[in-house]
Symmetry: C2
Subunit: 323 residues, 2 copies
């Protein structure tokens, strides 16, 4: 009699195959390129996107080889955006390690990001159908738009809550949504189920980015493993700042704007402390929680399996993470 | 009786459709993104890569809708590499215009390059088969490797001729080769013909890059439309410099190395003048000519059509260009 395999351990097996597919795809005939891509391994995170893709597949059907390939592809896309993001933000630390731009310079980091995205499409084109390629490229188009909107709005202190939500929908939630969509599609789910999972991934992605931005204000570098306070330093407003600016007295608002427009790190640190102590942090957290609640509703139509429980746990994990 | 359409005018029609496909693909629902991509139009060059693709198709069969799409795709890939290249080189002028990085900053230029490459794959995934996507992604992998090799060898004054040729094969000739290959494949050419055209494109690309690098030493900004002397300034050796370093007296060699390692622009200008007056320029030009001669041999097996004559003219044009 076969023992029942827990989703956790079954997922772990598949994740190992995803990592193998990722590493195999990046292997070059040039040793120095392999030394560069080895650096990416130190930056490997929790594999949230491959997990979402695999769990979505398991929740609606059986996992296939296609799920493993697609998981490696979405992780490559994600890594590429991280590497280019760190160049754009001039970030120095990520996941307790030096960023790629710090290790090999901005030029190398731009090219290594390009190398990752190129290999993502290359790996994806191994699949028989062009469907996944088309969906992935459509989403990378959207991610680029979100990133362009973000830097276009650097220093825009009138950024609205709606604009902020549009930016994070494009730059972050579009990919988590795609992961769930592709996981379900590759398992042969019908259109209605695919739509539910896609919406689940979108809402979880929104919550994820709101929490990520919160950690930039409330976390410490030791805790988050990356440079904190960078958003405000770059003049990028996030939910707590938008809330604070809209609710603050005209005096507080003027002080905040002065600090944000000023290069003085002490002023910025003071701002961070004031906002971290305000109820705008709680309000932003409540928004994230509300996204997760809405996300979970979309799982109601799925059969009650361990994979479905894992998806619920993943959504809840997003709210609890401290790094 | 139908008048014979000259390849030139027939090609012009197809090129107009390529430009339309290019612009249509990049159109965004975000007006500021459209303002950014409009900037790319000012940087549009001679469309060498779409021309090679279309002419290769015409030389072996009939042009199809697929040729137009693929031409827009390879031009997008090319544009993306230019935009990122200008960031890596901190170049300020291209085709008599400000570079994208000068216009919108390095951050915007990195993202606009990403946006282009993403749309290239997106457009390509509209085709029924994954064949072209797979080939294009394989070549963008190779281009990234070439670019990585190039920056890895910045300041390497021992770079050999073979290493230089390997770099330009990957970063430039791989794409021109692919253009001819895809043009022929999409027209239904048999394997042997595809191989000849692919080799033709490779050798023309080698000549193209050697001449491009020569212009960086012998051209003026007015003539080439871009910043000159940047290769040497960045410590990137090209064929004439490699030749000069290998043939120079130990005194001249020491003077050259000193000037290349020094930030002083006057010293660098002096180097440029010395090399421009040496026979290393002629030797590099002879190498480019020899690549073109070898390229033309691969056209011998094609029927004697006007398209074949256009390919010959394109190869010869590479040697004559002054910008």
């Amino acid at each position: 009699m076969k023992a029942t395999i827990e989703p956790a351990s079954s997922l772990a097996q598949h994740l190992d195959r995803v990592i193998d597919a990722f590493d195999d795809e990046l292997r070059s005939d040039l040793p120095f390129v392999n030394r560069l891509t080895a650096r990416l391994r130190e930056q490997r995170g929790k594999l949230l996107r491959p997990r979402l893709l695999l769990m979505s597949g398991q929740a609606v059907g059986d996992l296939r080889e296609e799920h493993v390939i697609l998981s490696a592809v979405v992780e490559m896309v994600h890594m590429a955006t991280l590497v280019h993001d760190d160049v754009l933000d001039d970030a120095q630390v990520r996941r307790q390690n030096d960023t790629i731009n710090r290790l090999i310079g901005n030029e190398g980091a731009v090219l290594l990001g390009d190398y990752l995205i190129s290999h993502a499409y290359h790996l994806c084109s191994r699949l028989k159908s062009t469907h996944a390629s088309r969906r992935i490229a459509a989403v990378t188009n959207t991610i680029c738009e979100g990133e362009l909107m973000q830097i276009d709005n650097r220093g825009n202190l009138d950024l609205t809550r709606e604009q902020y939500l549009d930016i994070i929908r494009r730059k972050t939630a579009s990919l988590t949504s795609l992961c769930c969509e592709l996981g379900a599609t590759a398992a042969g789910a019908d259109e209605a189920i695919v739509r539910h999972l896609s919406e689940f991934g979108l809402l979880v992605g929104m919550a994820f980015q709101i929490v990520d931005d919160l950690l930039d204000l409330t976390g410490s570098q030791d805790q988050t493993g990356k440079t904190v306070g960078r958003d405000a330093e770059l003049g990028e407003l996030t939910l707590p700042l938008i809330c604070f600016l809209s609710e603050a007295s005209s005096k507080d608002r003027a002080r905040l704007i002065d600090a944000l427009s000023d290069g003085d790190p002490h002023k910025r640190e003071a701002v961070r402390a004031v906002i971290a102590g305000s109820d705008c942090i709680d309000q932003a957290m409540e928004t994230a929680q509300s996204y997760v609640r809405s996300a979970l509703i979309h799982l109601n139509s799925l059969p009650d399996t361990e994979a479905r429980s894992s998806l619920i746990a993943a959504a809840q994990f997003v709210l609890q993470r401290r790094r």
